[in-house]
Symmetry: none
Subunit: 280 residues, 2 copies
Amino acid sequence: MSDTVEKPPVPQDFDALRTAILERKGELPKRLTQVAAYALDHPDEIAFGTAASIAISAAVQPSTLVRFAQHFGFDGFSGLQLLFRARLRERTSSYEERLRTLEQDGAALAESTTIFNGFVAAAHRSVDAIAAAVDPDAFERAVTLLAKSDTIYLIAKRRSYPISSYMAYAFGKLKVRCQLVGTSAGIDDDMLAMATSKDAAFAISFSPYASESAAQARMMASRGIPVVSLTDSAFSPLAECSTEWFEVVEADHAGFRSLSASMAFAMALTVSIAEKRRRG
Amino acid sequence: MSDTVEKPPVPQDFDALRTAILERKGELPKRLTQVAAYALDHPDEIAFGTAASIAISAAVQPSTLVRFAQHFGFDGFSGLQLLFRARLRERTSSYEERLRTLEQDGAALAESTTIFNGFVAAAHRSVDAIAAAVDPDAFERAVTLLAKSDTIYLIAKRRSYPISSYMAYAFGKLKVRCQLVGTSAGIDDDMLAMATSKDAAFAISFSPYASESAAQARMMASRGIPVVSLTDSAFSPLAECSTEWFEVVEADHAGFRSLSASMAFAMALTVSIAEKRRRG
DNA sequence: GTCAATATGGAATGTTCATTCCAGATACGG
DNA sequence: CCGTATCTGGAATGAACATTCCATATTGAC
């Protein structure tokens, strides 16, 4: 008789290790759980870093890394690191292969895969496009404008609504007062009626433009309330009544657009405003 | 006058090094030529190995490796090795290069510009990451699962809510029956109670996980309703109760995450489901 | 063929790193 | 509330490592 304790075999590849970690994550002590999460979330760091550098990133002691490795049957941290490196070697080749396959014969793949790749590619193009299209000076002006306002009214309907809803969430976290317009019922106009010239509005609308959003933005503008807007064309009704406006053209896949670029823009605007306020 | 000898600049990336090696390989001594050939033929070995192990593989002395590196302007072997490691990292996300450019001249720009660039870069990285992380087969299974369900329940709170809200909008346009859970009031659980095993759920939750979402997903699962989920870590409570789950790690900028990659994924899923239904 | 300049191999060196060890902290059971 | 077992942080340790140095070998010029 050797041991009464059950000894699971040492994982031989990354997937086995991953499985083992997920299986035993419940019974792991606090710091080891922390390492487990870090390892699965930042595998590249584990592959390249030294025990010391990884320990700093994961906010643990180097010795904890060693203990973690030993928990899973390795001699020490180095043994575990080998798996992460092996994974990286394999992935580079297989990932390249995959890309090549995708580009060549999209027909042979499952339709869902084609659609997925299409949206990923569209997201890439959209983000590229917005990076090129947004004028830094205009962006800075918009940030200044919104940062000094009292309450920010977020106007968005339908397809744009998810963006403003995320901004509202983020503004909440950042302690920036805002009012989400377009939620429900018919109280939108009542809410907007309370806006003063100390406030500002951020409106989002994409073609086909919700006439309501445009009307609300115009109304705000006519009352001397600055309007910043995000839209997809210079011909948008929003453009003409806005103090500052930005164009984001989401690349489409099969006629459908994701909001990847708009989301990036929205977050950049949100965080910039909060940052500007914080600095005074 | 310092040196009459021409001093080519130290290569800053792998391609520059490769070019430099090819240019100067004629004037290199025997052993250094040997190292040069080995380096270009086995770049992965250089990235991961130690000077000693590489020396054995290349049939040279460790000191030769150091001399080789110094010939190309590096302090020592380690400096050269960094380039080989960086190359492997960039393979996975080739956007790193452009990121570095942005970061370099970010200091002189307005803060809002820096933030904007940061989010654009983060969006790019996120989209790259999700392209690599999503397994086409798993995606196809998820699509099949959701496409054959009667009603799709979309579970998401807080930060994830904008995504599900966009999916609900798109599903509506595509005539796919769905129920958005997490809107308001306390009617969520009542809505979920109506779900049968003919239905399915799609849950989204990112760290810090809303306990409500996890509980609801678990509840659905326990009643035999298939759950597909989108989350940001294998440790997510969603992962363990899902039939299929996907990991999307949104790169962050200054601690804030946009939803660019998640949005692309959501739209791909939505459209794929609609397409699968349409085809029968 | 001889000398000088360069290249090379291999041992010596100093540094960095993973690992171990121990003392204190924390959680757990009685 | 106390005692025990486990966990954690941090310093000590020893091994592995890149690098340097020097003696020898090789090359090329005269």
